[in-house]
């Protein structure tokens, strides 16, 4: 009989294999910034505000991250300094996208991302460790609590999705988050179900 533990372990082995085979850049800060610069020329401060407003489900960008990315883009010739602006604070450099930047952005949009990138399963890893160091009770309690946390996150995104004040791009981001949480939830339910079945099988033996 194949045990649950075997299933988890073999799953991890499969993921390991897949991960060593594909190293794909998914979304980089640079691409996002170029996308925002396509709309209008902006300074770093403005880019942060626009990013955080437009992608409420993404982690807010740190200034350090933005300036590092802009420097890299500038070095590659994808963006250029087009002027400066001085309001009440320090002088700020305004950036614009170049033709090379546009071409890079188009090439990036044209590229299909590797599906395996999105299926890393940290929950299976943790449940397996729980089975190794503790027992099925601990693994099952972990999965139950994770399931509750997932459903709670789904409630939050459902509120965003159904709020008429939210923009179209907010709704799209929420849809994406919900679909991913839903996939995780289905896996968590199945894993719990398997743990329970396994327990019943062991009792019947």
């Amino acid at each position: 009989m194949i045990t649950l533990h075997d299933c988890f372990t073999s799953q991890i082995a499969v993921f390991d294999l897949l991960f060593t085979q594909c190293i794909v850049t998914f979304v980089t800060t640079g691409h996002v910034l170029m996308g925002l610069l396509l709309q209008s020329e902006r300074h770093g401060y403005d880019l942060k505000a626009e990013h955080d407003h437009r992608f409420p489900t993404a982690r807010p960008l740190a200034f350090g991250q933005i300036y590092a990315a802009l420097k890299r883009l500038q070095k590659n010739g994808f963006v250029e300094a087009v002027g400066t602006e001085k309001a009440d604070g320090p002088e700020r450099t305004i950036y614009g996208i170049t033709d090379a930047g546009r071409a890079e952005l188009n090439a990036w949009l044209d590229k299909i991302d590797h599906p395996i990138e999105t299926v890393a399963n940290p929950f299976a890893v943790k449940a397996t460790i729980a089975l190794l160091v503790a027992d099925r009770d601990v693994a099952s309690r972990y999965l139950s609590r994770q399931r509750a946390a997932h459903l709670d996150a789904m409630r939050t995104f459902t509120r965003i999705k159904t709020d008429p004040q939210r923009s179209f791009s907010d709704v799209l981001s929420a849809d994406y988050a919900i679909a991913h949480l839903d996939a995780d939830l289905r896996w968590l339910d199945t894993a719990l179900e398997r743990l329970l079945t396994l327990e019943q099988e062991l009792q019947n033996d």
């Binding site: 009770d137 309690r141 139950s144 459903l151």
Partner: protein, 238 residues
């Protein structure tokens, strides 16, 4: 034995004062034990999602809670009254005036128009035709299907039919709405639209909802989750 949801307490209490409580319900269809000690309550204005594998007893729990089935053991308490000990006449009145029910499909009378279908519960309670149709029209509007007032169920899409059915389930302004897989037969987007509207109307009117679903995406419209497994209930919240 390990528990599927070990963090769960057996008694599941709502945050707000309960309007409906089901306590240790058992029910068997012939020799098929569908419920064994199921316990839950629904707070005032709360949307409680009831999830669980198919065949676990969700629908049976709802039918008992709504006074449509009489549990063989346990109690259903609504407003301090034990529903399962009431006479059939009293239970029937309670269902007509205090409860609304909404199923997956097949509830609309095909011979009647949308507005007549929605007016039906009012007419059955003795309301006059003209005011009943007026009220029904308002409810169609709340569910964004006023344009379909004179259409017959056979001429509607699945989503439109469910909106009309939802309007009908709310027309008597029930205290508790029992919804069993209300979007189970719809595609993803219609399902979202119908569910969003049901939740919005329930929030606006302060109606409590027992929302049965096997989908986490629908359960996420609820404030809380109760999981049914083998006729027993567990809290889905950590």
């Amino acid at each position: 034995m390990i528990d599927a949801h070990p963090a769960a307490p057996t008694i599941i209490e709502p945050k707000r004062s309960p309007v409906l409580t089901a306590r240790s319900l058992s029910f068997a269809y012939e020799n098929n034990q569908a419920l064994q000690g199921a316990t839950m309550s629904i707070g005032q204005g709360e949307i409680v999602a009831v999830t669980g594998p198919s065949g676990s007893g969700k629908s049976t729990l709802m039918l008992c809670a709504a006074g449509l089935l009489r549990p063989t053991a346990g109690q259903v308490i609504y407003n301090g009254q034990v529903v399962n000990e009431m006479s059939e006449a009293k239970r029937s009145k309670l269902r007509r005036t205090e409860f609304g029910v909404l199923f997956q499909f097949g509830q609309l009378v095909p011979e009647l128009t949308a507005v007549e279908n929605v007016a039906l519960p009012l007419l059955l309670s003795g309301a006059k035709r003209k005011p009943a149709l007026l009220v029904a029209g308002n409810w169609l509007e709340r569910f964004d299907v006023a344009a379909l007032a004179d259409a017959r169920p056979t001429d509607m899409s699945g989503g439109q039919g469910q909106r009309v059915a939802a309007a009908r389930s709310m027309v008597t302004e029930p205290t508790v709405l029992f919804a069993d897989e209300p979007t189970g037969a719809l595609d993803a987007l219609s399902s979202e639209q119908v569910m969003t509207q049901i939740a919005r109307v329930a929030r606006d009117t302060g109606t409590s909802v027992m929302l049965i679903t096997h989908s986490a995406q629908i359960a996420a419209y609820g404030d809380r989750e109760i999981i049914v497994r083998d006729g027993m209930t567990y809290s889905g919240d950590a």
